[in-house]
């Protein structure tokens, strides 16, 4: 892992400078173009491919057939119609307009149920058009009630307000699909930050940057979720940004600017989804390393920079906490209780048993948990992480999952081997992998803790593979690190095989989705 030259670089220009090793055309001094850097051509090509694929997903997925999309649309519509944040217990969850569209298209019955199809009748569609056109203006403004997404922080929904207004004159599907297309743009940001992250980790080595960014942008669930109306699309972008800024801080040293930028990214993440709070231990580790590495006179300045960075986080995350308190809204996901709860006789034993059974086969004396598959790590993290479309009910053929599991395991192991080898050669700044490990364990720990609490409170599983997707840039780094083990003459073929494999899985995933919804 090569350190970049330190220097006062800011903005996109420095971004391109860090990552671009292409020869650049000579620009006459004094020209207005002097100092401007172009987006690296390979990244531009990759972004083009990712955009095409993601927009295809956005179009092919039927309305409201992505996870919780009906709830997210209701949230956006509540904001878009000037009703403030959703969650009013005295109002219906969805507007009359949305309910008419979901009912007539049969979207509400199709979600999660494989034997159910959307309405295929052109006549029914025309009838909906007629009835939708006859709705009074208030039919868009009578939603705003409680729904599972209404406790989410509002940042993504405020952003999605823009396409909602742009498509205001269109019907409900125009607003939904433009919102999806808008969300797809976040994946371009995610891919760009993954490219930059790889540039910071490996130095300006284009094949490794391409591998990292391509895995991030072409993993099927990334394109599926980013092509739907879902705050996760923005979450992936913010996490990729935070990962890049965190590594940048570690590699280049702590300054007020770098610290504030990094912690502001984490703070913005908490305004997208409270899940981002699990990144805090990793962020604090980065800050601590940044302070410790400054010696002598610089230490005091580093401490002040750290305080400023924490202040940025406090303003953003704390602001939302204050706002929710003032509004009487829950700031975090709330867990209720039901009769299916599993009251733990020994919480520690139950937690240990749950974690064991998540990753390893159940032992004969262990308690069985209702609703869990035999090996959750495979079903949740691998299968759903690669491809569980619609509302999780659309799956790839089982042999494909087995192949993807093997590829995933091989990639991760090879990535670790490359890291260890580089470490033995003294090429690794260990603070960087430590940062990644703490962030990854933070997310896994947060998900398992939530699932454990739900297990105790209501029973049944909570985990879904898509919850791990913010870590996909790290999987991309692992793939890139694995690529470094390949001799140069075979590297081109290995990278081509990886990219071809990603495209093949994309094509298969789209075919499976088309077959499920339209055959």
């Amino acid at each position: 892992m090569r350190a970049e030259p330190a220097g006062p670089r800011t903005g996109w220009g420095s971004v391109a400078g860090v990552t671009s090793s292409e020869p650049r055309p000579t620009v006459p001094s004094g020209s207005r173009r002097a100092g401007r850097r172009r987006v690296p051509a390979p990244l531009a090509y990759l972004l083009g491919a990712v955009l095409l694929v993601t927009l295809t997903w956005a179009y092919v997925i039927p309305p409201w057939q992505a996870p919780d999309e009906d709830h997210h649309f209701a949230y956006v519509q509540t904001l878009g119609e000037g009703l403030g944040l959703p969650g009013d217990e005295d109002r219906p969850e969805q507007s009359t307009e949305q309910r008419l569209a979901t009912s007539r298209s049969n979207a509400e019955q199709t979600a999660q149920v494989l034997i159910t199809e959307l309405e295929w009748s052109e006549t029914a569609y025309r009838r909906w058009q007629r009835d939708d056109g006859a709705l009074p203006p208030g039919a868009r403004r009578d939603g705003g009630g409680v729904n599972p997404a209404s406790t989410n922080p509002p940042l993504y929904y405020f952003v999605a307000w823009v396409p909602y207004q742009l498509a205001r004159s269109g019907d409900v599907f125009a607003r939904l699909y433009l919102g999806r297309a808008f969300s797809a743009l976040f994946l371009l940001a995610t891919v760009t930050f993954a490219w930059l992250l790889a540039g910071e980790v490996f130095g300006p080595r284009r094949p490794l940057q391409l591998a990292t960014a391509a895995v991030t942008g072409l993993e099927p669930m990334m394109t599926f979720i980013s092509g739907s109306l879902n705050p996760d699309s923005m979450l992936y972008a913010v996490w990729a940004l935070a990962l890049w800024l965190g590594v940048r801080l570690l590699r280049r040293g702590l300054t007020a600017g770098r610290g504030i930028a990094f912690f502001a990214a984490v703070g913005v993440g908490t305004l997208v989804k409270a899940t981002t709070l699990v990144m805090l231990p990793g962020a604090l580790l980065v800050l601590a390393v940044g302070v410790v590495r400054r010696r002598g006179e610089g230490r005091r300045g580093a401490v002040l920079s750290g305080v400023a960075a924490l202040g940025a986080l406090g303003v953003l995350a704390g602001g939302w906490l204050v706002a929710t308190t003032a509004l009487g809204r829950p700031a975090l996901f709330q867990i209720g209780t039901t009769e299916d709860a599993v009251p733990p006789e020994s919480p520690v034993r139950l937690l240990a048993s749950y974690l064991w059974q998540f990753y390893l086969p159940k032992l004969p004396f262990q308690q069985e948990f209702t609703g869990f598959p035999p090996l959750p790590v495979y079903d949740f993290w691998i299968k759903q992480g690669w491809g569980a479309f619609g509302s999780l009910e659309v799956a790839l053929p089982e042999p494909v999952y087995l192949l993807l599991a093997a590829v995933t395991a091989t990639t991760l192991v090879a990535g670790v081997v490359a890291l260890v080898r580089a470490g033995r050669a003294g090429h690794v700044d260990w603070a960087v992998p430590a940062f990644f490990a703490v962030v990854a364990l933070g997310l896994l720990g947060g998900l398992h803790w939530t699932e454990y609490r739900l297990l105790v409170a209501v029973g049944g599983p909570f985990s879904q593979g898509r919850y791990l997707l913010p870590l996909v840039p790290l999987a991309g780094l692992a793939a890139a690190a694995a690529l470094t083990l390949v001799p140069r003459r075979g590297r081109s073929a290995a990278l081509a095989a990886g990219l071809g494999g990603l495209l093949a899985v994309q094509a298969l995933s789209l075919a499976v989705v088309v077959g499920r919804f339209y055959a």
Binding site: A3, P5, G7, E22, A41, P42, Y45, L46, A49, L52, V53, Y59, P62, R104, S105, A107, Q109, V113, T116, E117, E119, W120, S121, E122, T123, A124, G170, D171, F173, A174, Y177, F202, R206, P207, Q209, L210, L250, G253, R293, A418, A422, A425, G426, H427, V428, D429, A431, L485, R488, S492, L495, L499, G500, L503, A507, L508, A511, G515, F517, A519
Partner: protein, 244 residues
């Protein structure tokens, strides 16, 4: 390969699509369309002069057979008549009869003749034989399965003309078709419930553009990065982090 990475990636996508097409040319389906109702519960009991109709149903695809879920207390449930009528006129478009034995909630199918696409219909059921005679008891009859208000809200079960808050589990079938032969229909369906004017043909063109452009773009990216790759294997040498 180094000079033509686009071709390699095009080949990867082409082979995948060919494999998908080969699979789709083997796999067949008889599904015309469905109301999408899970057979979770009894929707309506059929005995005596009771007639249960699910209506109205828009017919997007022609069908010849109606499949439904039915149960009975008697070891062999009573025969049933199935009629397809135009809605709201009530003109008989097709009919059939279930004589197979059934007990528990099972799926049964009845051929009703060819019902063309574009119709708006009722599908009506009535018990025959002793169970359909006046004065027959409930336990002699059949129970059509369905669920509460699961079909599109414009359709519901009507028992002797009175609406009930349930829907029947109905699946409409036709002669077996390969998935590959259904592609034009699938593309048309994929353009419904979308904004703006669109058609299956236009979608096919757009998908073809994506299928060709994506590997070409990635191939260009690959070609450019490999031109610049002159690094030896391994993660490159590190320098200590710099202070600024």
């Amino acid at each position: 390969m180094r000079s033509r990475p686009e071709l390699v990636l095009l080949l990867a996508v082409g082979l995948t699509l060919a494999a998908i097409a080969a699979g789709a040319s083997i796999k067949t389906t008889t599904l015309a369309f469905t109301l999408g109702v899970s057979p979770d519960d009894q929707a309506v009991g059929l005995y005596g002069n009771r007639v249960a109709c699910q209506q109205p149903i828009d017919v997007p695809v022609a069908f010849q057979t109606v499949a439904f879920a039915v149960a009975a207390d008697d070891p062999s449930g009573p025969p049933l008549s199935v009629e397809v009528r135009s809605f709201p006129e009530g003109r008989r478009l097709g009919a059939g009869r279930l004589d197979d034995e059934y007990t528990y909630a099972v799926s049964r199918s009845v051929k009703v003749g060819s019902i063309p696409a574009g119709e708006r219909v009722s599908v009506c059921f009535r018990a025959l034989g002793d169970a359909g005679a006046p004065g027959a008891e409930e336990d002699e009859g059949a129970r059509l399965q369905g669920g509460p208000s699961q079909a599109a809200r414009s359709s519901a079960v009507f028992l002797n003309g009175r609406q009930r808050p349930d829907d029947l589990t109905l699946v409409f079938l036709r002669e077996p078709r390969t998935l590959l032969s259904l592609v034009p229909e699938m593309l048309d369906r994929a353009t419904l419930w979308r904004p703006g004017p669109s058609s299956g043909a236009l979608l096919a063109v757009l998908l073809a553009i994506v299928a060709i452009s994506s590997p070409l773009l990635l191939g260009r990216a690959l070609g450019r990065v490999m031109e610049l790759d002159d690094e030896p294997p391994g993660i490159p040498a590190d320098a200590r982090p710099t202070e600024s």
